[in-house]
Amino acid sequence: MERLSDSAARTLPRAVRLLLVLLAITALVSLLYVILYFVGGPLQLPTVSQIHSLDLSPDGGLVAVGAEDGLIHIWIVPAQIRAGVSRDFNVSEEEPWPGGELPGPGGAVLAVGFSEGGQRLLAVTRQGKFRAWNMADYAVTQEFSLGTGPLAGVALAGNRQVLAFVDDSGALHVWDIQGEREVQSIPPGDNPRQVVALNSDGSLVAADSGTGVQIWNVETGELVQSLAAYCGDGVSATAEACKDANQDWLGHEKQVTSLAFSPDSQILVTGSADTTVVFWNLETGEAQWSSVGHWDDVTALTFSQDGESVLSGGRDFKARDLRVVGGKSTAIFEGHLATVNGTAYGPREGTIATVSDDGTLRIWETANQYNVHLEWSRLGLQPVWGRVIVIWMLVSGLLALVCLWGLFRIRLWAHLLALGLFLIGPVVVLGLPLLEVLTYPLSFGLKLQIAWSLLLLLAWYILLLVILSRDEVANFYQAPQDASLSEQIMVSQRTLRTRFGIYSVAVWFALFVILFSVLRRFNLDISFMGSWLQFIMGGSLITFIVSAASILLAVVLALMGALGRLSKNPIANAASGFYISLIRGTPLLVQIYIWYLGLPRLGIVLEPILAGILALGVNYGAYMTEIFRAGIQAVSLGQREAAQALGMTGGQTFRRIILPQAFRIVIPPIGNEFIAMMKDSSLVSVMAVQELTWRANKVGRQYFRGMETFIIAALFYWILTVIFQLLQGRLEEYMARGERR
């Protein structure tokens, strides 16, 4: 062993030795990065800081947000914005607003709030720390600890005199800010509490209780109202029973995830994981209105000053403006890249502000729902990419070590593994975040500032690839060193082929990455797609059955049609000519409608699926007639003569000699027709054949998620055709066995 590696090291070419050194550096740096990531050292990728909370100063002059990084970011709203000068909606051309950062008292800032006059700014962190600043000189004026932590949910009363929070045991606490003392405490309930709200004067506190809400009087600690879902008939106890009784289920079916009091404390609004927002009358405990529209948990709710509308934000990355009376949604704000955590009206009439886990503050025009301004908590990638890249570093670092060992032992697999790893890996792992940064509304310089480390990494991988694919390296690993000239030529051809294969796979992956990042921009409702995937997927079996049965029918018809076209019998010839002319002269969709509407008039009532097969089969039969005719004619005359000279009859000649050869000729075009058929079979969805397109259309229309369902359908059409192409290749190979050389 010792001797072997010794001699190997001596004979390694220079390029290979360079490669080994670079690979060792790669492995070392990658693994070092993973370690530093977990101990929190340098070498961190720039990632945005998720923003948890938002408040505007009463005059609309300042915006303050609390972020995951423990800072309170403050922006000064420019005067012309507050005055209502109309703005260009192209966000990327906006000048950033002046502003600054205040260090929080430690931990993620879960709540921020300006005092009623706007002189003070208050912040509460997840670690249970409170801090207040004087806005005149940004001096810390008050600081105390809530004595517990971490906190689940925090709320500030409208008058900023009282704060309430839920601790990790689920107990609810209310504190007087001025007195820095606890004024009320409610022990944990049956369900672990997550969210809390105070009314404007701090006299009522509300917290979630599973699918319902409980409200206490802060002064007395007495439970004043308990809101829970109920059935319209007042009897049925569960949502299912209520549905059976044909009544509306009022309230939430899933966990309450956000709460807010109206300014006059008459109404409580709740958002839930069931995606609905409900407006409760606090007097009667009745659910007055329910609002649907979000696609996921409702995570933020804010009343307008006049109490007539509510801004909701959700885990579907969207914000909505809802009318309190009726619960109708009047505006949808789409653009955030992650959960919306806070919403606010302002900074002037006709605009709103939102903050999100994507680390941005966005200002929107209510009238046209344009995103008119955008600020970053901190420039960087979305946090998910940080995690993806650390996983990549770990995997690639370990695999680089494996490659290093294999390359040192002069193993071909190690060379191919390294080539594949550093070609395909970076395309996927670096491609997605780079493409995302590309779409950020930032100047080129700022994009570069975010992405420079990724680009550096990419450049390093390209360097590795260049050396890996150098001929002297590639051939070294493919050829025995003492190979003859002919062997070396063969090897270099094989090297080219292998490299071509790996490059093609990488290009496929790159295109996939681009496609995927485009789809991400569509803001698809992934959980919705997940829940309907199986239903739509079930259509692919029907699509396949319809296509396969239709193509069989079409082959039979095409064979008959072709024989007719080639026949010297005028009846057969003209009949087949008529068939081809009629069917090719009319659109398939029109034919499908005529089959669908016409058959019942003749008293023939077929299953939709059978009618669909008839329509498609007859149509394709006409087109494929020409294919078969050409196939039969392509069999040489000599074959017919040879068979006849042996005494075979016309029928025997056709069946035994002509048809098998014609079939081999027409198999590739029939395969093409079949692939086309699988896609044209979508047209029979108009006959209510429950195939892919029908299902996608049905679900898409019912839930207004056509984009989602049709993308699923497209995916399965693609999968079907890919599978079939593989089968077709096999079949052609088998049919061509007489031609092999």
Binding site: G638, M648, R656, G738
Partner: protein, 261 residues
């Protein structure tokens, strides 16, 4: 003329091929202009002559791959006249084709079948011979043409000479009374001609009645009983090979021989 169309010295036997007044038109083109021929059992007749002289057409008329325009053809007592009902004619044509094996210039093996399958195809489908019997017979024939180890190869993996030998075996497997060869060596590379000619010689020596259109003058000289020079749709000269090659009587024959020798 009638004397020379009959084989010399075999007068007592009945001819196995009898052609009378055969004409063939392709549209207005008069290709065969009334020829007569008697071939005795076991006789080998070679037809030579310039291109376009009607040799191949004549041969193809013998088993009705080309329909004669006029005249009669009788093979082994099956006669087809130019005017006959369609049903009768079709039956007679198939009878004649079973009696007359044909070998083509382009071999025309069935490319989707192995050598063995090519050979047994017609006996099984046309004659209804049990498959096992057909295979036994086919193996015998393949070994007779020297290709027993190629029985499971597809034609595309055989050389031209091998393909033509399989084609000969295929024709022989129908147990024909006569064999028709339509330029059997013209599509072959020169070094492959010998193996096919060798098989044809053996076939002739075993007493098969053969009618051969060829440019292979060695075969004509060494194996045939009579050589016909066909030009412009008629027999220019019919004679035993020794006579025709060394002492041609007709001017047309001399011209042709001068051209190719």
């Amino acid at each position: 003329m009638s004397e020379s169309t009959t084989a010399p010295g075999r007068g007592k036997e009945e001819p196995i091929i009898r052609v009378r007044g055969l004409h063939k038109y392709f549209g207005a083109l008069h290709v065969i202009k009334g020829v007569d021929l008697d071939v005795m059992p076991g006789e080998v007749v070679v037809v030579i002559g310039p291109s376009g002289g009607g040799k191949s057409t004549f041969l193809r008329c013998l088993n009705f791959l080309e329909e004669p325009s006029a005249g009669s053809i009788e093979i082994d007592n099956v006669e087809i006249k130019a005017r006959e009902s369609a049903g009768d004619k079709r039956r007679h044509v198939r009878e004649i084709r079973q009696k007359a094996g044909m070998v083509f210039q382009q071999f025309n093996l069935f490319p989707h079948m192995t050598a063995l399958q090519n050979v047994i195809e017609a006996p099984v489908t046309v004659k209804g011979l049990p498959k096992q019997e057909a295979i036994a017979k086919a193996e015998e024939l393949l070994s007779w043409v020297g290709l027993s180890e190629k029985r499971d190869e597809f034609p595309s993996r055989l050389s031209g000479g091998q393909q033509q030998r399989v084609a000969i075996a295929r024709a022989l497997c129908m147990e024909p009374k006569i064999m028709l060869f339509d330029e059997p060596t013209s599509a072959l590379d020169p070094e492959l001609i010998g193996e096919v000619v060798e098989v044809m010689e053996r076939l002739a020596n075993e007493g098969m009645t053969m009618c051969v259109v060829t440019h292979e003058l060695h075969f004509a000289r060494d194996v045939s009983d009579r050589v016909i020079l066909m030009a412009d749709g008629v027999w220019a000269e019919i004679a035993p090979p020794a006579e025709l090659f060394s002492n041609p009587k007709e001017e047309r024959t001399r011209q042709f021989l001068a051209h190719i020798l």
